[in-house]
Symmetry: D4
Subunit: 204 residues, 8 copies
Amino acid sequence: MSKAPGFIRKDDAVVLMLDHQAGLFSLVRDFQPDEFRNNVLALAATAKYFGLPTILATSMDEGPNGPLLPALKEVVPDAPVIRRPGEINAWDNPEFLKALKATGRKQIIVAGIVTDVCVAMPTLSALSEGYEVFVVVDASGTFSPVARDSAHVRMANAGAQLINWFAVACELQRDWRNGMEGLAALFAKHIPDYGNLISSLNRK
Amino acid sequence: MSKAPGFIRKDDAVVLMLDHQAGLFSLVRDFQPDEFRNNVLALAATAKYFGLPTILATSMDEGPNGPLLPALKEVVPDAPVIRRPGEINAWDNPEFLKALKATGRKQIIVAGIVTDVCVAMPTLSALSEGYEVFVVVDASGTFSPVARDSAHVRMANAGAQLINWFAVACELQRDWRNGMEGLAALFAKHIPDYGNLISSLNRK
Amino acid sequence: MSKAPGFIRKDDAVVLMLDHQAGLFSLVRDFQPDEFRNNVLALAATAKYFGLPTILATSMDEGPNGPLLPALKEVVPDAPVIRRPGEINAWDNPEFLKALKATGRKQIIVAGIVTDVCVAMPTLSALSEGYEVFVVVDASGTFSPVARDSAHVRMANAGAQLINWFAVACELQRDWRNGMEGLAALFAKHIPDYGNLISSLNRK
Amino acid sequence: MSKAPGFIRKDDAVVLMLDHQAGLFSLVRDFQPDEFRNNVLALAATAKYFGLPTILATSMDEGPNGPLLPALKEVVPDAPVIRRPGEINAWDNPEFLKALKATGRKQIIVAGIVTDVCVAMPTLSALSEGYEVFVVVDASGTFSPVARDSAHVRMANAGAQLINWFAVACELQRDWRNGMEGLAALFAKHIPDYGNLISSLNRK
Amino acid sequence: MSKAPGFIRKDDAVVLMLDHQAGLFSLVRDFQPDEFRNNVLALAATAKYFGLPTILATSMDEGPNGPLLPALKEVVPDAPVIRRPGEINAWDNPEFLKALKATGRKQIIVAGIVTDVCVAMPTLSALSEGYEVFVVVDASGTFSPVARDSAHVRMANAGAQLINWFAVACELQRDWRNGMEGLAALFAKHIPDYGNLISSLNRK
Amino acid sequence: MSKAPGFIRKDDAVVLMLDHQAGLFSLVRDFQPDEFRNNVLALAATAKYFGLPTILATSMDEGPNGPLLPALKEVVPDAPVIRRPGEINAWDNPEFLKALKATGRKQIIVAGIVTDVCVAMPTLSALSEGYEVFVVVDASGTFSPVARDSAHVRMANAGAQLINWFAVACELQRDWRNGMEGLAALFAKHIPDYGNLISSLNRK
Amino acid sequence: MSKAPGFIRKDDAVVLMLDHQAGLFSLVRDFQPDEFRNNVLALAATAKYFGLPTILATSMDEGPNGPLLPALKEVVPDAPVIRRPGEINAWDNPEFLKALKATGRKQIIVAGIVTDVCVAMPTLSALSEGYEVFVVVDASGTFSPVARDSAHVRMANAGAQLINWFAVACELQRDWRNGMEGLAALFAKHIPDYGNLISSLNRK
Amino acid sequence: MSKAPGFIRKDDAVVLMLDHQAGLFSLVRDFQPDEFRNNVLALAATAKYFGLPTILATSMDEGPNGPLLPALKEVVPDAPVIRRPGEINAWDNPEFLKALKATGRKQIIVAGIVTDVCVAMPTLSALSEGYEVFVVVDASGTFSPVARDSAHVRMANAGAQLINWFAVACELQRDWRNGMEGLAALFAKHIPDYGNLISSLNRK
C-alpha cells in the first residue's frame, strides 16, 4: 500500500455518469438537493470542458426511476445515453460495455445514483478487469450517510480512489497556464464562493 | 397575539434585497453555498415573476464588501440599486427610503446579508413606522446558526413575520389557476426535487 | 399570554390532513423518510381511533404534486378527499370550507406538506376566524429545518399551538382506563420502542 | 411581556418528577442516555439538598412504562410516589393534586417523560390555575428534538419558564456563602467538568 | 488489495440475523427507531424474497435482552431461531454453527444488535475460517456512531465487506427482468420515496 | 408586541462581562473553544473601541471558577473588576450595582458564563427595574444547546433582546463614515473571513 | 488482510489507561462530558471485573494537566500509577515499560487523553514491537472529531484494532454462563438503557 | 500493514504550507473560520518553535486565490514563499521542488487549501518518490466533509499518515523536559482550554 496511485490522465480517462434520473434523485438523502444537482452538472461540465469521452446511462427510464435529468443531457448533448432495459450493474449491459471499451481508455471516472449499487457494482467489476477507477463522491448520492460511507469503504478497499469533482477538474488541468478562462468560468458557475472571488477581483 | 397576521398582498408588497454582495457572501456560514445562492436568486425571480417593485442595495461596494452579486442583478435588471456610501441601516439612507416610499406599499419583504444587521436594522425601523415586515429567512445569511436564531427572535418579537422564499411565492400566487406555466418553471429551476417531479410527469 | 390554552377536546376537534401527496413527499427534507411516513400514518390512525371527523385534501393531484398517499387513504377510508383544482390555501376552497364547517367543530388539528404553505396558510386563516389550531409538527414536512422553524414561529405567534402526534393521542385519551387495548396497539405499531416494551412485558 | 418573571423562591417551590420510569426512558431520543440519567438524578439531588418538597409519580407502572427509576427513588427516599392508575395528566389524579396542594406552594418545578405529554399537560393545567411553572428542560425527555421544541414553545407561550437543572440549583442557592461544601459536592458529582476543576484546585 | 471482491451470489449466500431482540433495540442509538426497524424488516423481506436460507438467533431471550422482535419472525416464519443459552459469539454455539454449515454456503450476509459484539464477533470468526462476509450496516445497530464506525473499521480491515440492505437486494436481483413485481413491491413498502415514485407513475 | 424595540444607543449603553473565568470556560460546550474565546474578546474590543463603560465581574475567583481570563483584562485594562465573594446574581452585589448605576446608563449589553445563570439572573433583575437589556448570545456560553436555548427563551420572553457581538458593533457604528479604519481593523482581527476580504482588496 | 485478527484473550491482555487527568479532560471535545466520564470508568470497571492487570499513568500531574481523575483511581485502587516526569509517549518511560513487560502479556488494551498523542504514540510503539493493540475509542478523547478520526486511521492502518469498552467486556466474558451477576450489575451501572431493561424485568 | 510507521523526526522533517491564501480561505467549509485560522497559525508556530525548515507556497496569488495570509507570513517570516505561476500541484514547480530537496529531509509535514487538490496532489507525488508524508488534517480545509474524508482515504491508502497539528508538536517535543516554557506558551495561545488550565494553575 506504499505505492502512490497515478493521477487522472487526460488522454486515458473516460467519464461514466450512471442513472442520474429524475425519479432516483428523490432517493438521495446524503446531500442537500441544490448542492447535489450542482455537483452532478459540474462533473458533466468538467468532462465536456476537457473533452473526455463521456457515457450516460439510465436504468428502466420508463418506470419509476424516471427519465435522465434533462439539464445533464444539455451539458453533454453529444454523449451517448445507454438505456438499460434491466441490468442493474451497467457492466452487465453489452451495449454499455462496448461503448466503454470503444474508447480504449483505462481510467474510469464514475458517478451515479445510488452510490451503493449503480456506482459500486460497475466499480467493482471494472477493478476486477484491471481498470483504474476514480469514484466521484460528491456527484453520487444515496439513502443515508451510513449507506454512503459503507459503499466508500467497500470500493476503496477493492482499489478504487475516492475523489470529488473539483479534484477531477484540477488533475485534468494540471497547470493554469493550459488555458484559464474556460475553467475559471466553469468554477465561477459551479462554486459560488469562487465566483464571488472573481466578481470582487474584476469589479474595477 | 391572537389575531392572525395578514398574508402578503400582491398589490401592497415591495421586495428589498440588501447587501447581497460578492464579499459579504463569504461571511455566510449558516447555509451551504449552492443552497444559499439559489435561494437568493429564487427570491429575486419570484419578485420579478409577480411584478413586485424591487429595490436592491449595497453597502460600500468598492471596499471589502464587494460588488453586488452579478447574477442577482441579471434576474431583476430594472430594479434600482441604492449604493449606500456608509449607512449600515439602509433605512438611514435618504435615497433608499425615498425609493421605498415612492412605491406607496406597506408590506415589506426583506432579505440580505448579514441577517443580524443588514436585515434586522431596517426590519426594526420599518416595524416602528407601521410597516408589515416579512423576513425571508432562507435568502438571508450570517455567521452562524446562533447569530441567525437570535436575530430571528429579535425581529419576530418586534412583530416581523418569518417566512421562506417558497412561501412568499405561494402567498403571491394564491391559486394555481392564476397562471401556471411561469411559476412552475420558476419552481423547476430553483427546487431540484420539483423539477424532477415535472420531468417525470412530462416524459410521455 | 398568561392564560393556559385549552387541551384538545374529543368532541370539538376535527383533523385536517392537507396535501400528503406522493410527489410532494419528495420535497420533505426536514425528516428522515421512514420516520415521516410513519408520523403521517400515525396521526391518521389516531384520528380514526378516536373517531374524529377527518378531512383529506389534495392540490392539483394530476400534476407533479402527485396522488394522495395510498397508505393514508387506507387508514381513513371514509374520510372525504377534497381535490382542490388550484387554491393553494385550502381555506380558499369552498368545498373544503363547507366540509369543515359542517362538522361544527372549533378545534382544528392540522398537518400537511409543506409546513410553510399548505399548513401555514389555513392555520392563519382559521385563527383569524376564531378557531383554535393545533399544528402537528411531526406529520408536517418541508424543505429544511430553517423553513420549518420559521413557519412554526409565524404560526405560534399568531396563536397556534405546536404539538406532535403522540401528544394529540394522549390529550384525546386523557385516561388509560378509557380503553387501553386499541391505543396500546396503535402505539406499538407506530412507536417501535413502545412496541418493544410491550413485547418484553408480554413474553411470558 | 416587559415584566421580569420572578426567580424561584426556596420557600415557595415544590418539585414534581413525573413518570421517570424504566420503560419510558427507552422512548427518550433527544438526549444521550448517560447525560439524561445524570440530569434527572441531579435535579432530584438538588431538590433534596435544598429541602424542597418533592413529589414523584408514575403512570401504570405495572405495564410497559415500567417501574420508577430505582436510582431516582434512592436520591429522594422520603418523597411520596403517586402511582396513577390511568390518568395521563397527573393533574387529573386527585391524590397527586392533594399532595401538591398540601405543600401550599405556588411555584412548580417540573420534569418528566415525555416532555410533550407528562410534562406539558400538568404544566398547562397548573398555569391555568395561577401557579408559576418552571419546566426543567434537561431532566425532561421525549421522542425527538422537534417534539421537544414544539412542547417548549407551547408551554412557554402559555406562561411557563424554561430552565435547566443547574439554573434551578443556582437560583435556590443565591449566594455561595449560604453553604458551599454540599452544593460543590453535588456539582462535582453531576458536572464532570466542575468536578475536574475542584480536583485540580485541591491537589495540593 | 487490487482484486475486486466478488458480488453476493444468490446460490451461495446465507443470511444471519442475530439478536434483534425487543430489549436490545433500546440500546440502539445510531439510528432513528422507525428507520432502524424498517431496515431490519427490509433485510428479512429481501432474504425471504430471494429464498435465501436464513437463520435467526437470540441471546438469553428470557432475560433483559428480551424476545425476538415479533414482526421479524412474521416476515421469515420458517427460519430457524437459535436461542443461545449464553454464548455471546453466535459462532461459539454448536447448534448455530451446525445450522449454518448445513446450508453449505460460503457467503455470509449478517446483521444484528449490537454491531460491535453480536455482529463483529461472528464476522471475525467466519472470516478466519474462510467465509466471505457481508455486514449489513443499516440493519445493525449499537450505542453510538463512534462505536459503530470502529466496529466497521475492525471488520473491514479483517476482510469483511460493508453493505446496506438495498445493495444486498440489488446484487441478488442483478437484472430487473428476473422478475419485477415482487421486488418493486418490497421496495415500495420499505423505501417511502420509492413507493411514492410508483404511486405517481401508476396514478393514471 | 408590535412596537419595535430601540437600537443600542452609544451614549446610553454599558457593557457587563460576567464571570469569563478560566475555570468556567471549561463548562462551555455550546461553542467550539477558538470561536468562543474570539467572540468574548471581540465583544470587549467593541466596547473598548466605542468607549462604552465596561464592567467586568468574577465569582469566587480563588476557587474552581478560576481567575478572570487574562486576555480579556488586557483588552479592557481600565474596566473595573468586581470580585463577588458569593453572590451568584451579580445584581445582588452592592458594589457591582453601584458601579453600574454610577454610569447612569439604561441600556445593558451583557454576556457571561454560564448563560442560564450568570447572564440570565442579572438580565431578569435589570428588566424588572426597567432597564433595556441586550444579551450577547455568542459571547455567552453554557453546558449544552438545550440549556442555552431555554435561557434565551426565558430572557426574550421577559423582554430582553438577543443579539450577537457583530450586531452590537454595527448598531454602535451606525455609519461607516463615522470612522472606518479602527472598526475595519477590529473586524479583520476577529472575523477571519472579513480579514481575508481586506487582504485581497489591499494586495495592490 | 484476509486473516481475521484474534479476539482479546483474558489471560494475555493488559489494560493501559493513560493520562485521564482532571485538567486534560477539559480538552476533550469529541464526547459529551457525562458520556465520556462514564466510558472511562466503565473500562476501568471492566478491567477490574475480569481481573486484568491494569496500569495507570499520568503526565506531569503537578502542572496544568492536573491530577489523575480520583473516581478512576477508586475503581482500580490497586493499579500502579506511573507518574511520568516528562515523557509524552508513555513507552519512553522506563518504569512504565517495565511494569508493562512484567505482566508478560502481549495484548494491549489502551485508552487515554488525548487520543492522537497519549494513545497514538504508545500504540504505534507497541505495534512496532509486535504487540497486539486494541484501542478503546470511547474511553479516549481529544479536541475534535477530525483529530480523532485521523488518529483512528493512523493507528488502524498501523495494525491496531479499534474497539469500544462494551465490546472489550463482551470479548472477555465470551459466555454469560461464566458468571452473570457481576457483569450484569456492571452493565446496569454504566449503560442506563441496560439498567432500565433489568429494572423492568425484575419488578415483579 | 503490521509494521508501525515511524514517528516524526525533528532532524528529518520539513513543513510545507500550501496555498493558505486569502481568497482560498473562503472556499473552506469543513471548519468554523476561527478554528481553522487558529489551526493554520498553530502549525506554523510549531514549525517555527522546533526550527523545522518551512516552505510556503501560493498559486496565482494575483488572481482570485488572493495573497498569502499575512498573519501566516508573520509567524514564519524567514520561510521562502514559492509563488507558482500556474502549476496546481506544487510538486510540478521546479523552484518548489528544488527548495524542498535542498533541505535534504525525507519526512514531509504538509497542510494546505484545498485538501483534495493542493494537499492531495503533492502528497501522492511525494509518496511515489519515497518520502514519508504526514498530512495535517486540521490545518487543511476544503469544500465539505465529504470532499475532505475522501481525500483522506485516498491519501491514507497511498501510504500517508493523517495527523493533527497538536500531535505534530508532541511528536517533535517527545519529552517535556526538552524545554517547557516555549511550548507551553504556544499551546496556551492556540488551545484556549489549555491556556485556561495554565491561568488557573498560576493564579497564586
